[in-house]
Symmetry: C2
Subunit: 140 residues, 2 copies
């Protein structure tokens, strides 16, 4: 039944509620046990970054209200802002139609990007070039 | 030098331009040659969906101005809206700080989700439940 969980919900009415732990059990993690998580600033809609979560980091994020990723490079929990102070306060976590991507609506404290830019997507394709479109911003 | 390309750009000034083909050569595709691509509605900021692209689908997207993903389930190009008409017109493609995620600003025609909802992220975590927060919408 695992693959059918999200499929079965597709035609459910708005307002339908289902057990969270079953929803998490049926997420489609990759072979490393990870799922992509997009962070979006709740009030402005700015897409801040994309990183990865495992089941435990999802549960920690929901429990603490502060976003915790899994760092693939460090193979360790990545409690966003733990060293920089640039934490992400969770407003709401959403799961997509087929359970293979998360969207975290957050209130970002300071810049989201490690380069001190507001968000990570600062290389814009312009014809046959890419252009840097953001400056590092002040922390707040 | 491959891994240093995006690192070297981190401290470059706003407005700095770099060759697109070098930028694409240095994207960090996964072991299947794929990179996650987030689609965001350009005017409203709504996060519509996340899917995957390979090098060729990125190039097609940039050339045609219509978003083309790579379908992992079908192992084939996924020209979004080819059958449904719900195409995504590309406004701008952006690359993140370390070259492992794309953000496509688009003008979505009709609903982005295959369930006919406006976007794919319609399961919201509410305490110990998930709740369906969107109805299928009319196509436009």
């Amino acid at each position: 039944m695992k693959n059918n969980f999200y499929y079965d919900l597709e035609s459910a009415d708005k307002g339908t509620q289902t057990d969270l732990s079953a929803a998490l059990d049926n997420l489609r993690f990759n072979e490393d046990g990870l799922i992509p998580a997009i962070a979006q600033q709740n009030d402005t809609g700015e897409v801040l970054m994309m990183a990865w979560m495992n089941r435990a980091s999802i549960e920690e994020t929901l429990k603490t209200g502060q976003v915790c990723y899994w760092s693939r490079s460090r193979q360790a929990y990545w409690r966003k802002g733990e060293s920089s102070g640039h934490v992400q306060k969770l407003v709401e976590m959403r799961i997509d139609c087929d359970g293979d991507t998360l969207l975290c609506l957050v209130n970002q404290q300071g810049p989201a990007c490690h380069t001190e830019r507001s968000n990570c997507f600062f290389h814009a394709v312009k014809e046959d070039q890419i252009e840097i479109i953001a400056e590092p911003c002040c922390t707040k």
